[in-house]
Amino acid sequence: MKHVLAIIVENKPGVLTRVSGLFSRRGFNIENIAVGETVTPGISRMTVTVEGNERTIEQVVKQLHKLINVIKVSNLASEPTVMRELMLIKVRAETGSRSDIQQIVETFRGKVVDVSPDSMIIEVTGNDEKLEAIKLLLQHFGIKEIVRTGKVALLRGSKVTRES
């Protein structure tokens, strides 16, 4: 099962290495990771997607807690969340296929953010399923390059993941 962990960390030098090093050292595979600042100065939030059974994840969370710069770890998989990822896709786009592509992009509420004589860059935001779906449709035209930010997530409603 996939788990999404929100890891609140002190933004100290090497903190990313400490966290990612812990995952690899203990044989846990990071599927994706996104890092950014929070509202509190000096505090960052990492969102890490990791595959594993309950027991493995429990061990990951406990080991993460042991890192001095880690303030809090929450497993978001067990709660209702809004989860998003942004993807940029550079797709082959000859004049003939442009309008077809445009239509797909609109259906997925994406945006064309760059156009050149034979290619376009498309920006889409969404959850895993949505991103996979548009990828599949665009494959037909020839995808030249893809980049993804990694997932970020917030709890639904007024509940927050505390930063201290």
Binding site: V9, E10, G14, L22, R25, H65, K66, I68, S164
Partner: protein, 565 residues
């Protein structure tokens, strides 16, 4: 507001050490720590110059185990720092508090592959509890106090501080406050009352309970309450290698060490128990054997200060996170006197049936290593500190030396580091100058830090080196004998050196024994001498450690003593 003193970085470090009550430093100088060593020249510390940085860490590690206070190490950048790595890992695996200060190249050269630059914070990230690269003089006092706080609280461990050379000479404001809080670091000490009550009930309901204790008992000072609790509830005690000494080795309820080279009785008791009270142990693979056969009959209570240890290896019924001494005290208050007479009787029959094997019958009178350990034990008092290296002699010591008090048995448990014993014995002697210190080591491991003979002679360190000389890397040879058809690939050490000559060349005294009568005699002689003495015990070469559980077997599937067959 108090005015802050303006002092240099090197002074800040030494002042911080003073405030932390540090008396002894183990270290080795070099270019990047020149300013620190210059400051040390007039400072009131006892700095012990080892002959290798690895030895400095092992000495500090053992010093910390014996005193309970963090051990302190200085080393230079690059090779000085990388030489610490084995020692740091050793301390990390055995949860020993250390504060290590390394010099680094000046800040402007960091990241340029400068002369003697090594990314020691990167290298030691997985083997320290925490580490720091100091980037400014302003943060140095805080870093020092955090390092001591982190090293010595919660699950203890090594903390490394890497200090660029220019920082030692920069001046800055200094005010030192011993830390008691760090954001994001909040060890739990008090056990959860609900869980404690569940544990009490489980103990009350148990017919065949055992306490299985480890190094956590010693680190938290839980020995006396452990003894009281075991006595009150009449629960027999099993101790892991790291736990030896937490309950008297000749105590009425003591069953010995379990696991791969453990006592038959301890292994049988763990297998048959209906309740295991795991106290400051981590259910290491050397103890559990094949995991899915381990303690299948038993409910398990697990008390540990590190939540990550609970449920890591075995499934736990009653988890209690916290300081094992505090939790045992809580349990003690709530427990009624127990009666386990029937279970203790069963245990007694195992004990009578399976005494610890003493080696081959036909070798009696020649020099059996087990005999040497027993004689060393018999001729020592309860305050004697026994320090071992790693190998057969280590297991024989764990089996045959009667350890009666906590912190009197020092050994490398988690990492199994050959070369640990001798420098660790030096650290132990500085920690407890009034105790006799015996270093029980092997002909292989002793050679891994043999240069420390210079350190003990220079400082006239009063210790006895009992070299169990079997002309082999004995433990590995034993595995080759048992599992590789006696193909002794690169485990023979028959070509010496002559350890008596070596010790004498360094200026130490040395004795030799080749029979059991001689052994007793030279032990008495050595104990009567002052200063470092080495005894070369020329023992039976192919003696094996028994009992033995083959790897990945159930711990009750035990080879009791195989040489006769």
């Amino acid at each position: 507001m108090k005015r802050k003193r303006i002092i240099k970085g090197s002074q800040m470090i030494l002042s911080a050490l003073e405030k932390e009550g540090v008396e002894v430093i183990f270290g080795f100088p070099g270019g990047a720590v020149l300013p620190l060593y210059d400051q040390l020249y007039d400072a009131p510390f006892n700095h012990i110059l080892t002959r290798h940085e690895q030895a400095a860490v092992h000495a500090a590690d053992s010093y910390a185990r014996v005193t309970g206070k963090p051990g302190v190490v200085f080393a230079t950048s690059g090779p000085g720092a990388t030489n610490l790595v084995t020692g740091i890992t050793n301390a990390y695996m055995d949860s020993v508090p250390l504060v290590l200060i390394t010099g680094q190249v000046v800040r402007s050269l960091i990241g340029t592959d400068a002369f003697q630059e090594a990314d020691i914070t990167g290298i030691t990230m997985p083997i320290t509890k925490h580490n720091y690269l100091v980037k400014s003089i302003e943060e140095l006092p805080t870093v020092m106090s955090e390092a001591f706080y982190i090293a010595s609280t919660g699950r203890k461990g090594p903390v490394l501080i890497d200090v660029p050379k220019d920082i030692f000479d920069l001046e800055g404001p200094f005010q030192y406050e011993q830390k008691c809080h760090i954001h994001g670091y909040n060890p739990t000490y008090k056990g959860h009352i609900g869980q404690i009550n569940r544990a009490v009930k489980a103990i009350r309901d148990a017919k065949k309970p055992v306490i299985f204790g480890g190094g956590g008992l010693i680190r938290s000072g839980a020995s006396s309450v452990l003894g009281e609790l075991a006595e009150k509830a009449r629960i027999p005690v099993i101790l892991s290698l790291m736990g030896l000494g937490a309950y008297p080795g000749d105590g009425e309820l003591f069953l010995g060490m379990p696991g791969m080279h453990g006592c038959v009785t301890a292994n049988y008791a763990l297998t048959e128990a209906d309740l295991i009270i795991g106290a400051g142990v981590r259910f290491d693979d050397r103890v559990t054997g094949k995991l899915d056969t381990f303690a299948r009959q038993a409910k398990i209570i697990h008390i540990d200060i590190d939540p990550a240890e609970i449920g890591k290896n075995v499934m736990i019924d009653v988890p209690i996170v916290g300081d094992v001494r505090l939790i045992l005290e809580e349990l003690m208050q709530r427990l009624k006197p127990g009666n386990t007479a029937k279970w203790l009787k069963q245990i007694k029959t195992w004990q009578d049936q399976y005494p610890m094997p003493m080696g081959r019958e036909d070798k009696v009178g020649k020099l059996r290593p087990q005999y040497v350990i027993r004689e060393l034990s018999r001729l020592s008092d309860e305050n004697t500190i026994v320090v071992t290296d790693v190998g057969q002699h280590q297991m024989w010591t764990a089996q045959h030396f009667v350890i009666r008090k906590p912190n009197t048995f020092i050994t490398s448990g988690g990492l199994g580091t050959m070369g640990f014993g001798f420098p660790a014995a030096i650290g132990a002697k500085f920690a407890a100058p009034d105790s006799r210190v015996i270093c029980i080591t092997g002909d292989g491991g002793f050679q891994m830090n043999i240069q420390e003979l210079a350190t003990v002679v220079k400082n006239q360190v009063d210790l006895t080196i009992a070299l169990i000389n079997n002309s082999y890397l004995g433990m590995v040879r034993q595995w080759q004998e048992m599992f590789y058809d006696r193909r002794y690939s690169h485990t023979g050490l028959q070509d010496g050196p002559d350890f008596v000559n070596v010790a004498e060349a360094f200026g130490a005294r040395a004795l030799r024994a080749s029979t059991e009568d001689e052994a007793t005699e030279v032990i008495k002689q050595a104990f009567a001498m002052k200063g470092p003495v080495l005894i070369d015990f020329v023992v039976e070469k192919e003696e094996n450690v028994y009992p033995m559980v083959a790897p990945n077997r159930a711990i009750n599937d035990i080879i009791i003593g195989g040489d006769e067959q």
